[in-house]
């Protein structure tokens, strides 16, 4: 009989979509926190991000990190008119579900739940996939996001028409295009530079 081990189990990669908080481990070396230059800190935009291995890895090229981060913040946080924040986060979650980024989907499904107060509907997107039938507006947001994610791109006039028929103005549709397109950027970084891990 062996002794009971007191060591924590090794972190494991999640194999399902979840709204739980996940960790993320880099496959190549981030800039150590103590070694960040002033310019790299400017690239982080928000200095709290120095705690994140992901952002410290991207800090190896600080100028593109800074521009990426400022675009990200405006696309998702600028709530002056346009698409409500819940639907922007839904688009991010749908793109992540389509590309298969379990980490990105976890973060943005949580945000979509927070802003929409519809956690169960968001969970259905994660559980059933992007073909889920929720309601006309959410279905249309998910369909448009998935069509923009496909290669070759499948987004066309029929998607715009459906979104307009559901009451979205052109600024809201442009916001959706930006949110879905941006997650095609974010997913590729998270998926190719490291991997998610289940928190102990």
């Amino acid at each position: 009989m062996s002794d009971i081990t007191l060591e924590r189990p090794a972190a494991t990669a999640p194999n399902a979509f979840t709204q739980a908080e996940l960790g993320w481990e880099a496959w190549i070396d981030p800039v150590p926190e103590a070694a960040l230059t002033e310019r790299q800190k400017e690239g982080l935009v928000d200095i709290a991000r120095a705690k994140s291995a992901y952002f410290r890895l991207l800090a190896h090229d600080p100028d593109i990190l800074r521009a990426r981060t400022l675009a990200d913040k405006d696309i998702f946080y600028n709530s002056r008119a346009g698409l409500p924040r819940a639907e922007r986060e839904l688009a991010a979650a749908a793109v992540s579900r389509s590309n298969g980024c379990i980490y990105c989907a976890s973060v943005h499904a949580r945000f979509a739940s927070t802003f929409s107060k519809r956690r169960d509907d968001v969970q259905r997107l994660l559980d059933e996939g992007t073909g889920v039938d929720i309601d006309p507006l959410w279905n249309a947001v998910i369909e448009a996001s998935v069509a923009l994610t496909a290669t070759p791109i499948a987004f066309g006039p029929e998607h715009v028409r459906k979104l307009r028929d559901l009451g979205l103005d052109d600024l809201a549709i442009a916001d959706l295009i930006h949110a879905a397109s941006f997650f095609n950027w974010a997913n590729r970084l998270m998926l190719s530079l490291g991997e998610p891990e289940t928190q102990a």
Partner: protein, 199 residues
């Protein structure tokens, strides 16, 4: 005024005419507009600081755009590439490789478990034949990475970054390369989406 009069890259690729309704719409989000442009400038116009040469950047961007089948975007990067010394030969090899590598995405496998039933098989790309000599080991490794990110990003693994390192890519250069491919995935979709919205 025509689309040729704008220096904004996304306007040019999306066909946004100065003074049009879509131009006004983009200017409703100046921080987005400015930083999408600043991202392009950081990747393609600023002096290289991470060890990825201008022609390498344009070669990878051309390949990524061709894989998306987006004519105006691919033409933009191929024209810039062809203006470089040795650019015409690189562009020819890139065009040839992109024809062989084109496909439909996203595909790929999940970590074994409940999502395995959603796994979609597809090709893993590598540059072969005479083009491998023309492009060199370093750029050939970058194109394999770019193909994976464009078409089957969920297949990415730690070993892929080790392969890039073996081919001469430093950590900082891998970050730049990944940002470049990922930014193009954004830029091509945003340009396509805005073009459809304005039609």
């Amino acid at each position: 005024m025509s689309v040729q009069d704008t220096t904004d890259i996304l306007d040019r690729l999306a066909g946004v005419v100065p003074g049009s309704a879509l131009d006004a719409l983009r200017r409703e989000r100046p921080q987005t507009r400015d930083n999408v442009q600043a991202s392009y400038a950081a990747l393609f116009e600023a002096p290289d600081e991470t060890g990825v040469t201008p022609s390498e950047r344009l070669a990878v961007a051309s390949f990524v755009a061709l894989l998306h089948g987006g004519v105006p975007v691919a033409a933009h990067y191929l024209d810039l590439l062809e203006a470089h010394p040795d650019g015409a030969a690189l562009a020819a090899a890139i065009r040839n490789q992109a024809r062989q590598a084109a496909g439909s995405g996203p595909y790929g496998a999940y970590p074994p478990g409940p999502l395995s039933r959603e796994d979609v098989a597809g090709p893993v790309f590598a540059v072969e034949g005479a083009d491998r000599a023309a492009l060199g080991e370093r750029l050939s490794a970058a194109l394999a990475h770019a193909h994976r990110l464009v078409l089957h990003p969920r297949d990415a693994a730690a070993a892929d970054l080790a392969a890039l390192q073996t081919a001469g890519w430093s950590t900082a250069a891998i970050v730049t390369l990944s940002q470049l491919v990922a930014y193009l995935a954004f830029q091509i979709r945003a340009a396509h989406g805005l073009r459809v919205l304005a039609a």
